[in-house]
Amino acid sequence: MFTQEIVTVTENKPVAEGYFKLSFNAPELAKNYDPIQFVNVKVGSGTEFLLRKPFSIYDHTDTDISILFKIYGKGTERLSQYKTGDSLDILGPLGTGVVPPKDNVPTALIVGGVGIGSVKALALKMPKQFDLFYGVRNQGEVVEKQEWSELANTVFMCSDDGSCGEKGVVSTLFQKQASAYKKIYVCGPHAMLKAVYDVCPETIESFFITEEYMACGFGICMGCVIKTTSGYKRICKEGPVFKGSEIIW
């Protein structure tokens, strides 16, 4: 069950270079969402932007939901200007969420850049058996370092310029230790997802959090598809999480 709500922004603060964490009041939603679900947000007024913009639910309190976003284009630029007290029109929760694994198999979350925004809700609901592999461009991009080091068993960092953790890409970082895991959740740009898939042993159960341009966000436009072994599937409806073996890369 999803709804369209006009909510009030309770906080919108920079949390890294070009990254914002925006919270809004939505007690019902805060109680009733699954990790990896997202909200589709109307940014700006009139037809300044015609389509909503999708953002994963990052975190919640009893009354509030937050999203974590990176300034990408004009829409996220505009969203960064929202202030406490502004109202925001959201649709959600959308997508098929993930039931946090109860089994204690060794698990890794592997994220690149703003991909971190999609996995925190999952991390919070998981037993603390997971490691985090976190790749960024540079140190300035790292979000909530302290919190993550508390959430995860171990955080393995890498960065393109070596300013933070190992120098290199997260797929390579993960590859070195891949054999230690039985289950992975991967989130980031498509090229990174593919790189991780390519180095991931078949013995690992892998889940990839995918993205595609969306219009509706709830399955009626058929716009946001990904090619799978059983044909095109809607990322907003059957996804955004797909097994690595299901995706046609």
């Binding site: 341009y213 219009a215 946001c224 598809v225």
Partner: protein
Amino acid sequence: MVNLDKKRVSPVKIGSVTYPNPIWLASGTVAFGAELSEILDLNMLGGIVLKGTTLEPREGNPPPRLVETPSGLLNAIGLQNPGVEGLIKDKLPFLKQFKVPVILNIAGKHEDEYVSIVQRVAEEAEVQGYELNLSCPNVENGLDLGTDPQWVESVVKKVKKVAGNVPVLAKITPNVTRITDLSKAAENGGADAISLINTLVGMAFNTHTQQPILANKIGGLSGPAIRPVAIRMVYQVRQTTSLPIVGMGGIMNQHDVDEFYIAGADCVQLGTLNFVDIHQLRSLINTAQS
């Protein structure tokens, strides 16, 4: 003067069917109704037009299939649909629980396919209208056939022969020099109503990769950007026919709905709006309840 108060709530008679009110949802913007029914009471609609259906299942175009343009949406879904058998088996049964008139949107590769689809569906007798998509710009060759008045007349005529009592709506393409040539052709073919407009053919490039954004390269432009063109076409067609006109193209609010009524539409379909504002959608639907 159009009596707007009356028009907004009036049942709409097309052929032998009277649709309960003039607010319908457009093909390709409702899938087959299931997802929308989670957030909207389908029973309050005057009609729901299903996603364009072909004889065989179609997997559609590769992504990206969408991109936003100023006040517009460019799409190239490529008619992803389960085909007429899939429709009958997996989609229509769900809709039986609602009293909303279901209109089938039919996309054939050639005349015979339109006829075959209608014949196959007629056996099921659940649908209250056939909207012939004579205008899908995303599919190979789709453009050219639908721009030929003779072809339009001929396909409508053939479908009418097998449609029985179910009204036939001709959704003609707006990507032509004279829209009234097509509406007249459809009328000559025996269409019970004219649906317009479908999307305008458009294109957008990614200036970094220098590639077309849509995998299909070209796509169909919908949304408020095209409303002035839609209004003009409804107006022009209204001057030349007394058939019911089903108007659409960029409707976002009551003002826009009224503009279509004034231009000459008997009822309207909401399309892109369904993707972006369910509150507005509900408000328009509520206005239509007398």
